[in-house]
């Protein structure tokens, strides 16, 4: 720059970080968390023969304001966020919930002593979304 202008006043550091903060994703953003339980903890291992351990997973975290691109959320989610922010805070913010699941195979002993192998749908959360 041949014509040095007056040295711009150094923007105090805190403004810059403040300025960028609005673009940083929230620290505890909505995401899938692992949770493993064993049926012996629940004292159900007498009749749930398999599996011994079960990881249902769960979704937890804040939903960013502009959710469309990251979670496949419908436009309604952003509308609900705007209602919450600008019109009526009693309307809840969008929630972090499971969007997809996977099945689980269970081997159990029935009350009559028969044994059943069953595959249940939607027993393990595999993906989260904001709704």
């Amino acid at each position: 720059d041949e014509h040095p202008k007056a040295a711009p006043s150094a923007t105090p550091p805190y403004n810059l970080s403040q300025y960028f903060k609005q673009f940083v994703f929230p620290q505890n953003e909505c995401e899938l968390h692992s949770f493993r339980l064993s049926f012996s903890q629940l004292k159900w291992d007498k009749w749930i023969i398999a599996p011994h351990r079960y990881s249902p997973q769960y979704c937890k975290g804040d939903c960013p304001r502009v959710v469309g691109h990251r979670y496949g959320s419908p436009v309604h989610t952003m509308v609900q966020n705007i209602i919450y922010e600008k019109l009526d805070p009693s309307v809840p913010k969008p929630s972090c919930v499971p969007a997809e699941y996977s099945p689980l195979s269970v081997l159990t002993i029935e009350p009559d002593g028969s044994i059943v192998y069953k595959e249940y749908e939607d027993m393990i959360a595999t993906k989260c979304t904001c709704r």
């Binding site: 990881s55 689980l104 195979s105 069953k118 595959e119």
Partner: protein, 298 residues
């Protein structure tokens, strides 16, 4: 407000929580107001089992029939073939069942084995109670499962002939009527390879199970010979196997919403009706219609 408060308490304790205190605390469903409890019937079968069993095992020690140890060993082996250690169903393209039920006979009468000189005739009357089969579970295959309970010379081949007859309850309420003749099933296998002997009786039991018969009473007449009479030079010796009364294995397709439907899952890459393969994953032959359909799809 009252019922809602109670509902929320049910929600917090939940049937998964370890209950403490009186029976009413034990089973959260009992805390629900009467109007809501009706919804209990809507619970998916697994949750019903969990909440039922949770209630029974904590509130009242109802006697629990323990399954036969051999049957349990077989079902654990089936589980290992069908799911991973974490319980994820294996994406096995040709295994269509999402439910397998094993019933041990709750009643059998031993007929004194009549020695026909060509082999032991082993006959039993068996009563299977199928109350646990739901209306939404459709039969894909049924098998009588024998386990050999004796040491058989390993290199031998075994040839068995089995006759099955459905027994109606006698007018005099007689429980073990005499044996009448019926379609025969024959089997030939190598002892060393089999701890289990699966006899496919689907065609025989289909009509009974399709009509949701709760009790199936069959008379089974089983004749086994060691060695192959046509070829072996050795005298055919009757098989003194102590055949344990068989269990009944039902491969079912549970059409309820809570059950996992394989052919709809991405692993199958198939939509609509399930491919006509053998439900248990044996080498089935996709019929010409299936081939044509898959060619059209391609």
């Amino acid at each position: 407000p009252h019922s809602r408060a109670r509902l929320s308490s049910a929600k917090t304790s939940g049937f998964l929580g370890a209950p403490k205190g009186t029976a009413s605390d034990l089973n959260p469903l009992l805390q629900l107001p009467k109007s809501v409890r009706g919804g209990y019937a809507l619970l998916p079968p697994l949750l019903k089992v969990l909440s039922d069993r949770g209630h029974q095992s904590w509130a009242s020690e109802s006697p629990r029939l323990q399954p036969d140890s051999r049957a349990l060993r077989y079902m654990k082996r089936l589980y290992k073939m069908s799911a991973t250690k974490e319980g994820i169903p294996k994406a096995n393209k040709s295994h269509l069942y999402n439910t397998v039920r094993l019933f041990t006979p709750c009643l059998e009468c031993e007929h004194p084995p009549r020695d026909l000189g060509k082999g032991d005739v082993h006959s039993v009357d068996l009563l299977f109670n199928l109350d646990r089969v739901t209306a939404l579970e459709h039969l894909l295959k049924s098998v009588l499962l024998y386990s050999f309970d004796t040491s058989i010379p390993l290199s031998s081949s075994i040839r068995c002939l089995c006759r099955l007859a459905v027994k109606e309850q006698g007018s005099s309420g007689q429980v073990c009527p005499s044996l009448s003749h019926s379609p025969a099933f024959s089997l030939h296998f190598e002892a060393r390879k089999r701890r289990w002997l699966e006899m496919d009786v689907t065609s025989f039991l289909q009509p009974l199970i399709a009509t949701h018969r709760r009790n199936i009473h069959v008379a089974v007449n089983f004749t086994c010979l060691l060695g192959d009479p046509q070829h072996s030079t050795k005298p055919v010796t009757p098989l003194n196997a102590a055949l344990v009364p068989p269990s009944l294995l039902l491969y079912l397709n549970d059409t309820s919403e809570q059950a996992h439907h394989r052919w709809n899952s991405p692993g199958h890459g198939r939509t609509g009706d399930s491919p006509r393969l053998d439900p248990t994953g044996d080498r089935g032959h996709e019929d010409s219609q299936g081939k044509r359909a898959s060619r059209q799809r391609r």
